[in-house]
């Protein structure tokens, strides 16, 4: 690439600059479009809002500067010097504009948005032409624009959360942090009203598990570091378990829940992945194909909702069959069951990748050396699977911590971190408290991510590059296969029953009380739910298009271009994936509620929240697609003097259509089923289906809720099946893994 760049036409010493166009756009939008707003609507047009009447001094300066730049760009001038001028004047204008908005707190208008974006493009052109950055104008401008968006819509909101937790009414104070962390809602261990001492029991559990950890670590080799690490891990786990069982409060409850859910989910995921690869029965593979779709098409908390009917106090299994009238479901148990159902397919998709990466040749070699199946598994298969297992385990922990819908419906009296963020803001109206909870949750999730990096490091455990080599896996021992199949069959039966109960519930008068057949709920749904469903689909669709395009661009920049801050851009754009939805929701409402970036109360903020939530999936999909395309194609295009924008559009875009299509469909589907990040953001005229569903369920309109869930499940299923049909036309398979 470096060789090619020198031969580009832009390297000659003088000529016109393409900067005239962005300069002109900025000029015109400043002249004709509103600079600021008085209200939430971006479509306000009023002479008083033009920059010349709102900020005459700034306006005249900007307009004069831009006029000079337009003229200068159209003349034949030395490239390098003019490039420096473009960068200098452009940055000054950009900073002045942003500075004015930030200091006055006037919400930005369409004109400001367009002008500032155009200025960034102009700076990009200047950077490229002056040779400060060795990329062509398109790439440089794209880097600047995407960095701005990532900064504004991911980094800045998260920063606001951190700020709100320690910066109260303009004063730095730790008092809120102290009062929240000290409150019984966060951690409560000792209960003064019980005869026994909870603290003592928690301490005992902590010590016991710490010892167990140390002993286990010592078995692998008596080194001090190892033993201490084992002891430390044991102590932490022990405290979580102890405080989760004997104490209460959001922190121990959420951690304890994650510790229950993660191993079970990972285990089930492994079972499914092994079965898919090695089972002799055909039904197994077919049913697993359906399993992998479920998490995508199911709106959140629908499982929770169905579980109440089977395991609730008067549930079909617990009440009618077993005759129990227990409160068993509401609390950690219920949330754990619902999460296991919801997250197992996710773990399966992750583990499927690492199971398929195994090379059968190793196992064959081991068998040839007369190793029994068990030692083969222990010595060959297991070590190769470990990184995949760790990834699935940690991802499940994150999902469990971030989950909002299930604890909301089944949490009972326990508090959870993700719901407490919501309740602090909506129930107690304390944005600072919500920010403290958000910070804690975000911190935990980042620690888990860091653990994953530490644990797995950068070592590659893939045994072969590309597709697995020849050879066949030895089938599982018969007894093992039977056991695993039974597990799958039971799981499948439970899932079928849960889904069936939702379909059934949508067709009867009152579920469980009056089981006569009716279409009433669907009639209600057409009146009340349909407009909301359509609106949701509209917002999700817009966000899916933007997420895919921006994701495509960022993926291209990150994986194909070299520039300063590339890693930061990648991490920044992935950050929203790691951030729990409720935290992102709170962050958006704190960051975009007043001041220059006022966006709350509009549909735009919902679209933005969904875009930046779903973009990482699109980025990863495109990156993996790009890694399969040889760079020589792009180099050929560059040699033919196409700028990188043309290469992107005419070479890479057609080749990546399957990935982009998949990215778009998954963004759409995830947008339709999102709840935690958008529950704060609904506004008049922008009601969303999942929020309405939650409200119906909470108020007892269960039939209508079931009808809505049914319509959503079938609608999304249809969309996904359509995607498969279309991508088959393109002759390439689409991978689901990237989207999860």
């Amino acid at each position: 690439m470096a060789v090619m760049r020198q031969s580009r036409p832009g390297r000659i010493s003088g000529g016109r600059s393409s900067a005239w166009l962005p300069a002109l756009v900025a000029l015109l939008s400043l002249l004709m479009l509103p600079w600021g707003r008085t209200d939430r609507s971006l479509l306000e047009f009023d002479g008083k809002l033009l920059v010349l009447s709102q900020a005459p001094g700034l306006g005249v300066l900007l307009l004069a500067g831009l006029a000079v730049l337009v003229v200068a760009s159209l003349l034949h001038l030395p490239l390098v010097q003019r490039g420096y001028a473009l960068v200098g004047l452009g940055s000054a204008g950009f900073l002045a504009g942003v500075g004015w908005l930030v200091t006055t707190g006037v919400p930005f208008g369409v004109g400001a948005l367009l002008a500032l974006s155009a200025l960034l493009v102009l700076i990009g052109v200047g950077l490229s032409e002056s040779g400060i950055i060795q990329n062509d104008p398109f790439v440089t401008s794209s880097i600047l624009i995407s960095s701005l968006f990532v900064l504004l819509f991911i980094v800045y909101p998260l920063f606001t959360v951190l700020r709100e937790s320690i910066w109260i009414k303009g004063v730095f104070t730790l008092s809120k942090v102290q009062s929240v962390l000290g409150s019984p809602l966060f951690i409560s261990i000792e209960n003064p009203y019980t005869p026994q001492s909870e603290q003592f029991r928690v301490a005992l559990t902590t010590l016991a598990l710490g010892l167990v950890g140390a002993v286990l670590a010592a078995r692998g080799g008596l080194r001090a570091g190892r033993v201490f690490a084992g002891l430390g891990a044991g102590l932490v786990l022990g405290w979580i378990v102890g405080a989760g069982i004997y104490g209460g409060g959001a922190l121990p409850t959420s951690l304890y829940l994650a510790l229950i859910v993660a191993p079970i989910t990972t285990g089930l995921g492994l079972v499914f992945a092994l079965l898919e690869q090695r089972s002799r029965a055909g039904w197994v593979r077919r049913s697993l194909a359906i399993v992998s779709l479920l998490p995508l098409i199911t709106p959140p908390f629908v499982f929770a909702f169905a579980l109440i009917y089977w395991l609730g106090r008067s549930g079909i299994i617990t009440g009618d069959l077993l005759g129990l009238k227990s409160n068993f479901l509401f609390g950690i148990n219920g949330v754990a069951i619902a999460q296991i159902f919801a997250f197992t397919p996710v773990a399966f998709l992750i583990l499927r990748g690492s199971v398929q990466g195994l090379n059968p040749a190793f196992e064959e070699a081991s068998a040839t050396l007369r190793a029994q199946p068990w030692p083969t598994f222990q010595r060959i298969t297991w070590p190769l699977l470990r990184p995949g297992l760790a990834a699935a385990f940690l991802l499940t922990i994150i999902e469990s911590l971030a989950d909002f819908g299930n604890p909301m419906l089944l949490g009972g009296d326990r508090n959870f971190l993700a719901t407490e963020v919501f309740l602090a803001l909506t129930g107690r109206y304390d944005p600072n408290e919500a920010a403290v909870y958000g910070t804690v949750l975000l911190g935990l999730v980042l620690v888990v991510f860091a653990l994953q990096r530490l644990w797995l490091g950068n070592t590659s455990f893939v045994t072969v590059t590309g597709k697995p080599g020849g050879g066949n896996f030895s089938p599982l021992p018969l007894w093992l296969e039977r056991t695993l199949q039974t597990v799958l069959a039971l799981w499948g039966l439970a899932v079928v029953l849960l889904y069936f109960s939702i379909f059934y519930g949508s067709f009867v008068q009152i579920w469980g009380i009056n089981n006569s057949f009716t279409f009433k709920h669907y009639q209600d749904l057409t009146n009340l739910g349909l407009p909301v469903l359509l609106k949701t689909a509209q917002l999700a669709f817009i966000s899916a298009i933007i997420a895919t395009l921006v994701g495509f661009l960022i993926a291209y920049l990150v994986s194909r271009q070299q520039f300063f801050g590339r890693g930061l851009l990648e991490v920044g754009s992935m950050l929203s994936f790691a951030t729990p939805g409720t935290v992102m929701g709170v962050a958006y409402i704190l960051a975009f509620n007043t001041g220059p970036w006022l966006l709350t109360g509009t549909g735009i903020i919902i679209v933005l929240a969904l875009v930046f939530r779903n973009m990482p999936a699109a980025i990863r999909g495109v990156i993996s697609g790009l890694s399969q395309i040889d760079k020589s194609l792009e180099e050929a295009s560059t040699l033919l003097r196409a700028p990188s924008s043309t290469t992107l559009r005419r070479v890479l875009l057609p080749l990546l259509i399957p990935q982009l299509l998949a990215g778009m469909v998954f963004s759409f589907v995830r947008g339709m089923t999102a709840i935690s990040q958008i529950i704060f953001l609904i506004s008049p005229g922008n009601a969303l289906a999942t929020v309405l569903l939650l409200r119906w369920i909470e108020q007892g309109d269960l039939g209508r809720g079931a009808a809505m869930a049914t319509v959503m499940i079938f609608g999304l299923l249809a969309v996904i099946l359509l995607l498969f049909a279309v991508s088959r036309c393109f002759g390439r398979g689409t991978s689901l893994d990237a989207a999860v």
Binding site: L43, G248, R313, G319, T426, Y429, E698, Q699
Partner: protein, 341 residues
């Protein structure tokens, strides 16, 4: 040069897509609605038919509504706050988030409701606190039907009661305030500690206990009677009981948001909402709370205050944010953590 133009077209396209979601404005009123979803949804079409003004509604719980109005006070999205327990409406007025507007039908509104709240917000309906019971569940347990607040401490009801959590629900705060007014603060907290053992779960939403009650998961739900009547009419096997010592009530509120963008439309909506025609919309949506307009013809099934022993609920004293916070904090520290099993 040609290339730059097409790039720009891409960016323009992206910006256009962005903007297409901010739809054009017309004659509208933005309402934040804190009554049940059915009622909220019925308001829009009825008002549009009556006046031609479009109603855009967001329905959230009362506390959440207050939270949003407070967050947006500098730049409100909403014009009118419809429904929900009175205390948050009172608090919103005190904090200058809402303003008082004398609706056209003010003269026809119930004098007792007006007297209780003064000129802080417009009374919309009255809801009376009571017990919902599921007779079959109680019978299976061999437990008697509760008649009084003090009956709730009976160990026979272990795990059979649901009530909402005052940290998230206005209904539950109405119960605490009622008990404090009935028995005095110390005895009220003793009573709540007493039946705390019998509570299966403190729900998030004030309406929620009726779901478990209707399904026979619990035997007693403490909430507003009109929500129970609505559920009973839908066919759930429940009955409604008024406590013998007397009971409290809420005066559901209607407030004009201070600094509303569509103030005239908001006022028109408020005028309509307390007119007989507007109040009957609730009936059609299956709502059984007592409407504030005395001229509204009642339907059968509405719990009439004349049939119950009502306390003289001091809405001003107990709507005070400071007292409210103190009582809720006390409950959270002294009642909630008590062991139940």
């Amino acid at each position: 040069m040609l290339m730059r133009k097409t790039n720009l077209r891409w960016w323009l396209f992206v910006v256009m897509v962005f903007m297409s979601s901010g739809l054009a404005q017309q004659k509208v009123v933005n309402v934040i609605c804190s009554v049940t979803q059915n009622w909220c949804e019925a308001l829009g079409p009825a008002f549009k038919q009556a006046t031609g003004i479009e109603v855009r509604i967001v329905s959230v719980s009362t506390n959440e509504a207050l939270a949003r109005l407070r967050a947006e006070r500098a730049n409100p999205t909403f014009d009118v706050w419809f429904g929900g327990t009175g205390d948050p409406h009172y608090e919103a007025f005190k904090d200058a988030i809402t303003e008082w507007y004398r609706v056209k039908a003010y003269g026809d509104l119930s004098p007792t409701m007006k007297a209780a709240i003064g000129t802080t917000y417009i009374p919309l309906y009255q809801g009376i606190l009571g017990f919902g019971i599921n007779p079959k569940v109680l019978q299976d347990r061999g437990a008697p039907i509760p008649r009084c607040w003090k009956d709730l401490t009976n160990p026979a009801y272990r795990g059979l009661i649901q009530v909402s959590n005052p940290n998230t629900s206005g209904t539950s705060y109405t119960m605490i305030a009622t008990l404090v007014q009935l028995f005095g603060e110390e005895e009220a907290f003793n009573l709540m500690r007493g039946f705390h053992r019998n509570v299966a779960e403190y729900t998030r939403s004030g309406v929620a206990p009726r779901i478990a009650l209707g399904r026979g998961e619990i035997g007693i739900g403490i909430q507003f009677m009109h929500d129970l009547v609505e559920f009973k009419k839908q066919g759930f096997p429940i009955e409604v009981v008024a406590p013998c010592e007397g009971t409290g009530y809420e005066i559901g509120g209607l407030s004009l948001v201070r600094g509303a963008k569509n103030k005239a439309n908001g006022q028109a909506f408020m005028d309509w909402a307390v007119s007989p025609a507007g109040q009957q919309v609730g009936f059609r949506a299956g709502i059984f709370s007592l409407p504030s307009n005395t001229k509204t013809p009642l339907i059968e099934g509405i719990p009439d205050p004349k049939d119950f022993k009502l306390i003289n609920y001091d809405a001003k004293k107990y709507g005070d944010p400071e007292l409210r916070t103190r009582l809720i904090t006390r409950w959270t520290r002294e009642v909630f953590p008590l062991p139940r099993r």
